[in-house]
Subunit: 482 residues, 2 copies
Amino acid sequence: MSDSTISRRTFLKVSGAIGSVGAAPVFSARGQTSSEETEVTAKLARYIVDSRWSDVPDSARKEATRSVLNWVGCALGGSQEPSAVNALEALSEFSGPRVASILGRRERLDILHASLLNGITSHVLDFDDTHLDTIIHPAGPVAPALLALAEKQKVIGAEFLHAFILGVETECRIGKAVYPWHYDQGYHITGTAGVFGAAAASGKILGLDARQMTWAIGIAATQSAGLREMFGTMCKSFHPGRAAQNGLTAALLASKNFTSSEHSLEATRGFANTMSAEHDFTHVTKGLGETFEVERNTYKPFACGIVIHPIIDGCVQLRNEHGLEPSDITRVELRVNPLVLELTGKKTPSTGLEGKFSVFHSAAVAFVRGSAGQKEYTDDAVRDRTIVAVRDRVSATVDPAVREEEAYVSVTLEDGRTIDKHVEHAIGSLERPMTDTDLEAKFRGQAEGVLSGARTRRLIELCWGVSSIDDAGDIARDAVPA
Amino acid sequence: MSDSTISRRTFLKVSGAIGSVGAAPVFSARGQTSSEETEVTAKLARYIVDSRWSDVPDSARKEATRSVLNWVGCALGGSQEPSAVNALEALSEFSGPRVASILGRRERLDILHASLLNGITSHVLDFDDTHLDTIIHPAGPVAPALLALAEKQKVIGAEFLHAFILGVETECRIGKAVYPWHYDQGYHITGTAGVFGAAAASGKILGLDARQMTWAIGIAATQSAGLREMFGTMCKSFHPGRAAQNGLTAALLASKNFTSSEHSLEATRGFANTMSAEHDFTHVTKGLGETFEVERNTYKPFACGIVIHPIIDGCVQLRNEHGLEPSDITRVELRVNPLVLELTGKKTPSTGLEGKFSVFHSAAVAFVRGSAGQKEYTDDAVRDRTIVAVRDRVSATVDPAVREEEAYVSVTLEDGRTIDKHVEHAIGSLERPMTDTDLEAKFRGQAEGVLSGARTRRLIELCWGVSSIDDAGDIARDAVPA
């Protein structure tokens, strides 16, 4: 780079003339986008502001309700994790008015800090929901902000669910516009796109007008952050938490006319151009109000990576269909996609965490316990004699002809018979969604040891009825130990 | 993209196996960096932790003191701006214990919110310091976090200044490693690199060990945010404010063992690879403790873009050398680099903000008032009859042979004489730094109308003596109206 290049750049930038006040259009950084891309942010903001509850079809309301139920369960399940404990220890002393709950815990925090904590707990076990088209975990950034707001001011259930649906719509559409490039580049999209969802949902509750909503989106854009390098550390679940907190902050600021760019998504130096190698804004603007991304949300039945789910599913089915006991099983042979062993080939896991990377342990718990929830991935579980005994009888061969969604399980029984199962799509996929009963069972497993049985039942009822309850804040208030 | 590509990607990512627990090195996303790049974060963290006050040369202490003084003045100068007022209105109700001051104001906030507010006020007028090699405004993200901490716990002046120097070192070195690519891509580097400075400085005060310091840097990295598209809106000054607040949060979390990646700068999906097209880590690791970036900090004498500074400087010099009165001036001819008219060619500004984009107005105030501070860029100033009269006599011609740092001013006087001035480097450049007396005068101008004269004098003294004062928090406590 020549000196004159440095000099020119320095002058252009240090001058402050490029943008520091930037009112004059002649200095605008924009203008390189095609005509159909110039009002992306404004169109989205207008949609969020104009959307009415009566415009939202039953199918979206239903799936949103399932998402909320699943999210509340995940927040309970992760509520005692060290990530939450350490964050609380670090930040609780700075809390403002403690009007908001941390689901599953007795401490209370101001609504901004509560958003952070509930975002952390709901994602920390990687057991929350997944929007497969973008691999965003949609509820994590949106629900905590909304629920905290609902504890501060009265929000009726329908209003809450409506804002939740719009938040999910916003983050998933923006995510789709930059996926996969943005993710491949290294961004944790649940954080970077999630902040928009939290801002939109919070802004809807706060009653922002269209211009304020563009500011809220802009203030979210300029806080969009989160690196995939953090995977494997406490910062991974920090991402949806911070996205919730920052999105809520964005909406609060916008409500007091704290300004931002009104073209934050599409501008030359806006979100998409700066943070993604490519983008397609039709995902943001096309069919707004006609389709609902929340309907494409999925929920994990098993507390491990999705790559093992078809296998666990097959093992559980065989166990239940044939009433298998561990002692009935002589040999288990798995035929799987190569990725399975590449990612989860650990033969003898010694910790619960390692168990998540063992297809052998996962198959064993499926046979022994008929499930693969949190409790099947503890240090105790991987050392359990019965589980270890079955695990040692499991072998796996890879077959590139087996799709990643697919698995073949073959069990040789003590009596010499062989039984087989072919799974085309695992339970929890879009093709075979978890039933409401499945989701309830998952919820109860996550609430165990956190809430009493009676409280858990009442909370489940409250979640199913969210669209008609009088005060959405009750969900948070009822999700803490008595 | 083929279906199988989608599917594989989805599986790899949704599985959680890539990183969601990610403890097993076999799944590590790293390993593509060359050997000298593998311990960048750790080396920097080790340096910050090990650095002792006695290792810091006088030259760095002196320039850091000047930086602190300049920053305090800027925070006072911006303290009444709408950006600060609106942010306060939106967020004050969520404040925790109100132990920290907002410089120039009577409200108090918890240390996290105070960091945000003081970051906003100190940058909102674009009158703060500039590290020319990276165009980072170094004090904005660092000083607010440190000063807030110093109001919560006793921090002696030397410790404060030491942490400030290390914070500036951290943000500027990281900034240099990714400049200009990162900036050109659209990131506002004062926000994106500044968060590292705030984390390092705060972490030094909190006494983090080396591992915790790598976490603090990592938690900063995963919050690194800020888009240039926000220039011209309230979000521009939000960036250093949020960087201060987020960096302080990072250090607080790390102090309670909230973990992050320990390779956040250099990892394949870490800060540099994700957020910059290119990077050079030698800027981070080479000569640590031998050179000090704070010594390359500069301060603006004039409250407008640097591109006009040589011209203002020349006009002020002619005015003072010849005792010029407005009525003496018949014609002013400027010969300037083409950028000057490109960026600041507004002939008849109608607002103070537009005045910053008018080389004509800027030359006029230099002749009429002998300065170009905040008060020269108000709505009143651009309408002032005397100033307008001089402005109308100013013409400018561009000449590519004139360097950007340079200007030629020629004045034809009422008596027919012509006087000339050639400025090679404007006051405020590294080549012609503002003197301590200049900095004091700038400070007084910024404090006017905010603090009493007596309080201003005492505060200036306190800043000059920062390295030997007993309690750095006194700077904040003394920087509010009595």
